[in-house]
């Protein structure tokens, strides 16, 4: 199978788009046939649709990549699909309001909260789905694990109001961004590729100072992403140093001081060590 088929050529695709023609190759059907074997398929389709798809793909061959491909350091796959994905994606598409009843981590339940759904987000780290939504009364941007949603129903809201809220969400998200400057210690420039790979899942920009042969990575994070960045920074250890970003710097100091305490290495350091919240790892 060659991924660089001429049929995928950009000029062809753009011309087909102009003429409104749908085109699908054997490559794509083989991929589809393979992923349809995943248990998630039964949650993604009604049994009728699933049967229809199986019939449509009957003459196609599945891909046999599985035989010689090994995945390592993979998180346990808790959840690929969630029963709420189908109804929620339709509510998002229709720009509806919602009434949500959901539980918090503490177990406390909030009933019938009025809101506007924004997107469904999958965390590759936690392997779980979240609903991103706007809580109308609290005027808050929420991220709620689908597993914690007890019920969700449609609530009609004027379209203009929903559009306003969605615009506001985009603005809020933009304002929430903070920059953290991470310097790669030049001594470890040889490991550059590994370090940049580890950071490449963030919105980032790299600066290079040719004079000192120093790379600095400007990472753009939202408030709640800082925990994940911190776990990545601890992951990289001494190879990188946070250059700018007070909160992150303080947390790295706390982590090192407390870790050394665990190992029985206590030296006098003047630092306020905050408690466990400092340790919440990846998002």
């Amino acid at each position: 199978m060659n991924l660089f088929e001429k049929i995928f050529n950009y000029q062809i695709i753009s011309r087909l788009d102009d003429s409104g023609t749908f085109m699908v190759t054997a490559h794509e059907r083989a991929w589809l046939k393979t992923v349809l074997e995943h248990p998630a398929a039964s949650e993604a389709f009604t049994p009728e649709t699933l049967a229809k798809l199986a019939a449509l793909l009957a003459e196609d061959e599945a891909m046999d990549t599985g035989a010689h491909l090994i995945e390592k350091a993979r998180s346990r796959e808790k959840q690929v699909y969630h029963p709420l994905l189908r109804p929620l994606r339709r509510l998002i598409m229709n720009r509806s309001g919602i009434r949500v009843t959901h539980a918090l981590k503490s177990g406390q339940v909030y009933s019938n909260q009025l809101g506007v759904p924004y997107r469904l987000e999958y965390s590759m780290v936690k392997r779980e789905w979240y609903l991103l939504w706007h809580h109308i009364r609290n005027r808050a941007f929420m991220s709620t694990k689908l597993d914690n949603i007890l019920s969700v129903t449609e609530q009609e809201l004027p379209l203009e109001r929903v559009s306003d809220i969605l615009t506001r969400i985009s603005e809020t998200l933009e304002n929430r961004k903070a920059e953290v400057l991470v310097q790669i210690i030049p001594q470890y420039n040889q490991e550059m590729s590994r370090i940049l790979y580890a950071l490449c899942c963030f919105d980032k920009e790299v600066q290079y100072d040719a004079q000192t042969d120093t790379y600095t990575v400007k990472v753009c994070v939202m408030g709640d992403e800082r925990e994940f960045l911190l776990s990545k920074l601890r992951f990289l250890g001494k190879r990188v140093r946070v250059f700018e970003g007070e909160y992150v710097k303080r947390r790295m100091l706390e982590a090192s001081v407390k870790a050394l305490e665990r190992y029985g290495v206590v030296e006098e350091v003047t630092v306020m060590v905050k408690d466990e919240d400092a340790l919440n790892p990846a998002q």
Binding site: I7, F8, T65, L69, E71, R86, S106, L253, Y263, P281
Partner: protein
């Protein structure tokens, strides 16, 4: 014509994604080992593809292009590097002809001669008119890639587009299909074909739902965008494995070669040498979720060899190996990989680490250990902490993961790893003490 290779484009895009914005044209070209002229040509070509594919135009060359490629998470869930797989070059006349054929077949079935007429009438004036032989060749190609099929048994054959996936499904089913393809391409590997299919279905949906929120309800957090670049080699390598064929390629190790250590530039992207010509028997491909990187594991004269797929260029198949011997070597490799956190095939060692539970709230530490701790086991547990034990080949690969838990993890054994952790935390503390 020589077979078109996309090595340069792949290396180029990878460097662009990893170092986004770091280098100017000259530095960039130097690190790729190409001339500034080639750099400019490559960027012009890639820009044209991006522009045609996404109708967006990054402004200037170099730095600005990389910013144009910068990923805005909430803006679009389109995989930003997918356009690489649209890069196969084609003569204008051929791309127009194939599009015309598919456009016509999109409405009804035709015979080859009827299609010749369609093409002749619709072809742009400045392009050469096709003859029957060319049309038959095109149809054969389209049939081979599974886009069209012959219908009816009698000559002259009629051809029809294989559009069942969208024709036979209701609008609601199509939405389910699009979502499923989006989710599976977003969460599983390999994903390029899935993304290509998603692209086609998305356009189809856009024809009835013009608004973006209708077709992009999903986001995937913390993706390794460059992972799809290596899928370019994946299928050719897997094919060689299936056929027990040796392969030859020019390898550029992403790690520094000793001979360059003296150079005062980042050796990683230095491409001054010619790379190393390798011949080896591929056994397995490994995808490492920790970094989003791909490896080729093979058998060569020196025993088991490991190659980062991103360093592989000018790949070609060589002679076939004895299947029995191949099976033996593959089994040997599997045995050795059994305890690899990633791909380390060194001596196994038992690591014991104590993880401390958070003082209140849900136990996110334990959750994460269970989620990411691979085949390791929790062997002891009390209210305050639990002990995790795992046998791994060497400690190098698991170390960053253990360290990422910060002070919630204390390595107990082996003692050497415990000492290394202490030393490293001391260094980290020193970085921040003065702040």
């Amino acid at each position: 014509m020589a077979k078109e290779s996309f090595d340069k484009e792949i290396q180029f895009l990878r460097l662009l994604v990893l170092t986004s914005g770091a280098y100017n044209r000259k530095q960039f070209a130097k690190r790729l080992g190409i001339s500034v002229n080639t750099f400019d040509k490559t960027i012009r070509r890639l820009k044209e593809i991006v522009q045609t594919t996404y109708q967006q135009l990054p402004e200037e060359q170099g730095k600005e292009f990389s910013e144009g490629l910068r990923y805005n998470y909430y803006d679009s869930a389109d995989p930003m590097l997918l356009f690489l797989f649209r890069a196969k070059s084609l003569k204008e006349s051929e791309s127009e002809r194939l599009s015309l054929l598919l456009g016509a077949l999109g409405t009804q079935s035709f015979t080859a001669l009827e299609l010749l007429d369609c093409c002749t009438n619709a072809m742009a004036a400045h392009l050469p008119l096709p003859d029957e032989k060319t049309i038959r060749k095109d149809l054969k190609y389209l049939e081979e890639v599974g886009v069209i099929r012959k219908i009816g048994g009698a000559r002259p054959y009629r051809y029809a587009i294989r559009g069942e996936l969208v024709q036979e499904l209701t609008e609601d089913e199509l939405l389910d299909l699009y979502d499923f393809v989006d989710v599976m391409a977003g969460t599983q590997i390999p994903s390029v074909q899935g993304y290509l299919l998603r692209d086609g279905l998305k356009k189809q949906l856009m024809r009835s739902h013009s608004e973006k929120h209708a077709v992009e309800p999903f986001l995937y957090k913390y993706h390794y965008h460059s992972r799809i670049l290596d899928e370019a080699h994946l299928f050719t390598i897997l094919d060689a494995i299936r056929k027990h064929r040796k392969v030859r390629f020019l390898y550029f190790s992403p790690k520094a070669e000793k001979s360059y250590a003296s150079q005062n530039t980042n050796p990683l992207f230095e491409r001054k040498t010619q790379g190393k010509l390798e011949q080896t028997l591929p056994l397995k491909v490994v995808y490492d979720h920790q970094y989003g990187r791909w490896y080729l594991l093979s058998y060569g004269r020196e025993g088991i060899r490991k190659y980062r797929m991103e360093g592989i260029t000018q790949f070609e198949e060589a002679e076939e190996a004895d299947p029995v011997w191949f099976a033996e070597k593959q089994q040997e490799l599997l045995e050795k990989l059994r305890y690899s956190w990633l791909i380390d095939t060194g001596a196994p060692v038992t690591v014991r680490a104590k993880f401390y539970n958070p003082s209140d709230g849900p136990n996110f530490i334990k959750e994460r250990v269970l989620l990411q701790g691979q085949w390791g086991q929790i062997v002891e547990e009390d209210d305050e902490a639990f002990i995790y034990e795992i046998t791994v080949n060497g400690t190098t690969e698991i170390k960053p993961w253990l360290r990422s838990f910060g002070s919630s993890c204390e390595v107990l054994e082996p003692i050497r790893l415990r000492r290394e952790m202490i030393a490293e935390w001391k260094e980290i503390r020193a970085y921040y003490e003065s702040v």
